[in-house]
Amino acid sequence: MIAQQYGLVGVFALIAFLFPIVTLAFTWLIRPKRPNPIKQSTYECGIETVGDAWVQFRAQYYLFALIFVVFDLEAIFLFPFAVAFNKVGWFALFEAILFVLMLFFGLIYAWKKGALEWQ
């Protein structure tokens, strides 16, 4: 039963992945190809590039990504609970509330520590 539904997903994935490749190959056949160094230079509104584009980035982005990972995991834990919600009792609801509140305190902590400020 499950395999039947995912059979279509598999066939779909194969074709959806091959389709853009085939189209790009097709345009490669019909489009003009006249490269030159100026055309292929990095685009910065006509100004010449200074230094490499691959520079070190600010840790700010990493901090947001870490907070995201924590909340993403929380969501994954809660989804099966939400599916089973109609079949569980009071105690289970209490546990889930505890689970969410714990993360909510984490959010408040991050807020108070200024980790949510974008500088």
């Binding site: 070190q56 840790a59 990493y62 993403d72 089973a84 984490g106 991050a110």
Partner: protein
């Protein structure tokens, strides 16, 4: 039959991707190979009828963990875009560690008393996972939330120290 062929095919591709992640000279390419490995594992889960694990694998490992790894690469000074190479003078020690870990895992897998069940996966498997999380396995469930909280606090502490 078809299932077995598919399994071998996907497993082979996944292993090749893993190999690529190890030997790729560019760290960003290694991370992309890792994404391929995660995707392959998700497909293996789905081939085993574990659909929830399959999509959760993609959401967490590709959506969150892999992107975090890419970020870490981009944030480290003088690493991005440079040819890092898989070898340095400590590679013997790393190899010994990897072989030891592999042997340990193989031994555990051979020793473990896996029970073969020929029954189909129940249709309400996700409901049962949910009931298990707040029923039988409630302590790990709550501990996981504490763990996530600790991870959050730790990340903020580390990032604030600069």
């Amino acid at each position: 039959m078809v299932g077995q062929v598919l399994f071998i095919l996907v497993a082979a591709i996944t292993l090749l991707m893993a190999l690529g992640a190890v030997v790729a000279k560019n760290l960003f390419h290694a991370a992309l190979f890792l994404v391929g490995v995660f995707f392959g594992i998700a497909v293996l889960f789905i081939l085993l009828d574990a659909e929830f694990l399959g999509v959760a694998q993609i959401v967490i490992y590709i959506g969150a963990i892999a992107t975090l790894i890419v970020f870490a690469i981009m944030l480290s000074k003088n690493v991005m875009g440079k040819e890092a190479g898989a070898y340095n003078r400590n590679w013997y020690a790393a190899m010994a560690g990897a072989v030891f870990l592999f042997l340990l895992l193989a031994w555990l897998l051979l020793k473990a008393p896996f029970q073969m069940v020929s029954a189909d996966v129940p249709a309400d498997a996700i409901t049962q996972i949910g009931q298990g999380l707040v029923g039988t396995y409630v302590v790990p469930f709550e501990v996981a939330s504490v763990l996530l909280l600790v991870a959050l606090v730790g990340a903020i502490m580390l990032a604030r120290e600069r």
